[in-house]
């Protein structure tokens, strides 16, 4: 029965004439989980970017006299303790976070670029070209990509750029499907047709109707893809196929930490917490964004 009430509410609120975005923002900020996640994520990014400056250690400094120091180590300034090579885990966790976040963002942008171009083309042309292009996507969709990516890493070695490309290449399929669907739907929507019929210019239609509508799904998609990508990267790193030592990422740190977790649980717990919290935030923000932009009762 909730459809009735939402329909009523929407119908009733419509004439007030608040813009789509103002509405969406208000709904997003009314969502406490999403709001909190945004705050935490901003703090996380600040910490990752600036944190290492406040430590006397570097991520690759090896100190065999100071291995496996338990936190909190305030005199030694090892806030999160040290690992099996005496490297400072505070700095390593933050620097690993830089890599994880960077992979997440860059690879998502790669998939965004491919996906939008492909999906928009298919949706714009429609008809047979669309059918053919989407059949291609269907075929690729069923591939067990994770295995191919692992194969790729095994064969070509561990390269940061390769990770971007490999992960980006997996995720563009979703984006292509979403963008194509939206483009197709938007082409024939009443408000676009109505705007066209009443002589609104093409540019204005695109600005007022197409872009805001596409932008919404793309934003939701991006926030939900970044955590997925971070997860894939950490998965690869965990298998020892991610970034090359001494550089590190959260996945690699968790891998190392898990090996010696009964002796030095902190080496597992700190990077694992950072990873989980970050994924948590992204997922909450993505969910919140989706609900805010598409207030279907979920």
């Amino acid at each position: 029965m909730n459809k009735v009430e939402t329909a009523l509410a929407v119908a009733a609120a419509a004439p007030v004439g608040r813009s789509l975005w103002a509405d969406a923002r208000r709904r997003l900020f009314a969502n406490r989980a999403a709001l909190l996640s945004i705050v935490v994520l901003v703090l996380m990014v600040l910490l990752i970017v600036l944190g290492p400056m406040f430590s006397p250690w570097t991520y690759d400094y090896i100190d065999f006299d100071g291995i496996w120091r338990a936190p909190p180590q305030t005199e030694g300034m090892h806030f999160f303790g040290t690992d099996q090579l005496g490297r400072d885990l505070f700095v390593r966790t933050l620097v690993g976070g830089r890599i994880s976040l960077m992979v997440g963002i860059v690879a998502t942008l790669v998939s965004l670029l491919i996906g939008v171009a492909y999906g928009a083309t298919a949706g714009y042309f429609g008809g047979r070209i669309d059918g053919l292009m989407m059949r291609g996507v269907d075929i690729l969709y069923a591939l067990p990509f994770m295995f191919l990516v692992i194969l790729l890493m095994v064969v070509f070695g561990r390269h940061l750029v390769l990770i971007f490309v490999a992960i980006g290449a997996i995720n563009w399929l979703d984006m292509a499907r979403i963008v194509r669907g939206q483009t197709l739907a938007l082409k024939n929507r009443e408000f676009v047709m109505a705007a066209r019929a009443s002589g609104v210019s093409n540019g204005r239609i695109i600005r007022r109707h197409i872009i805001p509508n596409l932008l919404g799904v793309v934003m939701v998609y991006v926030t939900l893809t970044i955590p997925q990508v971070i997860l894939v990267e950490s998965f690869l790193s965990f298998l020892g196929l991610g970034v090359q030592e001494p550089a590190t990422s959260w996945g690699a740190l968790v891998n190392e930490g898990a090996r010696d977790m009964d002796a030095a649980p902190w080496a597992l717990i700190f990077p694992a917490t950072f990873l989980a919290v970050t994924l948590f935030c992204f997922n909450f923000i993505g969910d919140g964004l989706r609900d805010a932009l598409d207030p279907k009762d979920r």
Partner: protein, 307 residues
């Protein structure tokens, strides 16, 4: 129905072929060969070896040979475990992997769907928020973090369950790996189930069912459950892929002698045929499973069935 089967089949075959081509050529494009060991072999032995493995033939011929073998179910010899063929290695690990994988799948389906239904029926109340928060947590903690934490808690601290290994493959051996493998899928399934259940409960035909004065139990069990399960059904394909991928890590962490563990070792040892064999085997399995799920979907949805 037959048309649907043919249609699905027509898109499964190119997927499979593509998988074979990608796997094969990616492997061959690799710098170096499988016999580049630290102490280099005398050239004549190397040549013999290459001849034995048909590595001296042109690439297309090797590919044809591999496809020919793969179609007949022969995935070639392993480079690393030189006494075994890839088939033998996979068959050895299969029963173990199957038990863990199926166990996780069944657990995920039951717990995930039940949690999702509860959340949907208690929409916007405490139990809904609780389930959804837990599900979000499950989605945000990777398998390889959950697994060590489970070991830390149940094996190291409480000492209730073994930290790993595979004694008799009984419940004690299976408990932790299965739970670790299932948790992320439970989270995803619960969210999916809740969303589709809420949508169905808001649908016009449920309004009709309630207007008929049916008991709430009848409305939910007879009218809402089946349509709400359909999206879950179509997620089974990706879920199986997720579980298989996850099993690679889980088997590694828990020291379970399944296919996944071979895969990681083979990858690290550059045992190309074994790596590729596993990719092809699991890939085929996933594609086959997707195909079956599609067909099942067709059987269960009267609208699709009619086509």
């Amino acid at each position: 129905m037959l048309r649907l089967a043919l249609l699905r089949f027509a898109s499964a075959v190119p997927t499979l072929l593509l998988l074979l081509v990608l796997a094969f050529f990616m492997m061959r494009a690799a710098p170096g060969g499988p016999f580049d060991t630290e102490r280099s072999l005398p050239p004549e032995i190397l040549a013999k070896l290459e001849q034995a493995y048909h590595l001296d033939e042109p690439l297309w011929k090797q590919f044809a040979r591999y496809i020919g073998g793969a179609v007949q179910g022969d995935l070639g010899p392993s480079f690393q475990y030189s006494d075994f063929t890839v088939n033998q290695l996979i068959l050895q690990g299969l029963p173990v992997s199957l038990r863990v994988g199926l166990g996780a799948m069944v657990l995920a389906l039951f717990v995930g769907c039940a949690a999702g239904i509860v959340a949907a029926l208690r929409h916007n109340r405490f139990s809904d928020y609780a389930v959804m928060t837990l599900a979000m947590t499950g989605m945000s903690i990777p398998v390889f973090v959950i697994a060590p934490l489970l070991i830390l808690l149940f094996a190291v601290t409480l000492g209730w369950l073994p930290a790993g290994g595979w004694q008799d493959g009984g419940l004690r051996d299976m408990a932790l790996p299965v739970v670790a493998l299932a948790l992320p899928q439970i989270a995803i399934l619960a969210r999916l189930m809740r969303g589709s259940m809420i949508e169905v409960l808001n649908s016009n035909y449920i309004r009709t069912a309630r207007a008929k004065g049916l008991a709430t139990r009848t409305v939910i069990l007879r009218h809402a459950l089946r349509p709400a399960l359909m999206p879950v059904l179509s997620y089974l394909g990706p879920a199986s892929a997720g579980i298989i991928t996850g099993s690679v890590v889980i088997e590694q962490i828990f020291g379970i002698p399944g296919i996944g563990r071979y895969f990681v070792q083979a990858a690290l040892n550059r045992d190309y045929t074994l790596v590729m064999g596993v990719v092809v085997f699991y890939g085929t399995l996933i594609i086959l499973f997707n195909f079956l799920v599609d067909m099942l979907y067709g059987v269960l949805d009267p609208r699709v069935r009619a086509e």
